[in-house]
Amino acid sequence: GAGVSQTPSNKVTEKGKYVELRCDPISGHTALYWYRQSLGQGPEFLIYFQGTGAADDSGLPNDRFFAVRPEGSVSTLKIQRTERGDSAVYLCASSATSTSGQYNEQFFGPGTRLTVL
């Protein structure tokens, strides 16, 4: 079946602009995660959704970053007033319903490479 998809694949924007990055999870997956991978680093957690609600947004770096998942499927990561330091690959992952005591594998999308000039 279809995996996690992310659009666009690449996004170039200018400092100060607003951007939206989209994630389409695997059908039926209720858990959705956003990670940010800066050059030469491992991915860093940003936010986790269980269904429509953000269950853990402790990784969002500041209030310029916001994410939504209004219908519990597609998610959009929104970045306001972009800065050059926001340049990174933004990865999305989804997994089946999270159950205490049971790990559900996260399946990753190919990421969106954001470049802020």
Partner: protein, 116 residues
């Protein structure tokens, strides 16, 4: 907070030989999972192998195996019979067992090159 350390930024190995990638981690939790992910140039993270902390037996998946030392908080990956397609970034990752947000904490990665 949990941390994951990969002390080898780059490694290389000859095709068909064996290579071991190192990983250490720090946590106060007793129940957790550890993972090795592969990231080729396509950027897609692919799960290679996982280990539940409560299991003493080391996980194996075909040519991939781990050496899990819970007391030492060490989790190394051994790749046997290395193939050209194994060339990629490899990330060690941690997730705690609590359910809810099973966010992954990643190391900085090791770039593995398999030479013909």
């Amino acid at each position: 907070a949990q941390t994951v350390t990969q002390s080898q930024p780059e490694m290389s190995v000859q095709e068909a030989e064996t290579v071991t990638l190192s990983c250490t981690y720090d946590t106060s939790e007793n129940n957790y999972y550890l993972f090795w992910y592969k990231q080729p140039p396509s950027r897609q993270m692919i799960l290679v192998i996982r280990q539940e902390a409560y299991k003493q037996q080391n996980a194996t998946e075909n040519r991939f195996s781990v050496n899990f030392q819970k007391a030492a908080k060490s989790f190394s990956l051994k790749i046997s019979d290395s193939q050209l397609g194994d060339t990629a970034m490899y990330f060690c990752a941690f997730a705690d067992y609590q359910g809810g947000s099973e966010k992954l904490v990643f190391g900085k990665g090791t770039k593995l090159t398999v030479n013909p």
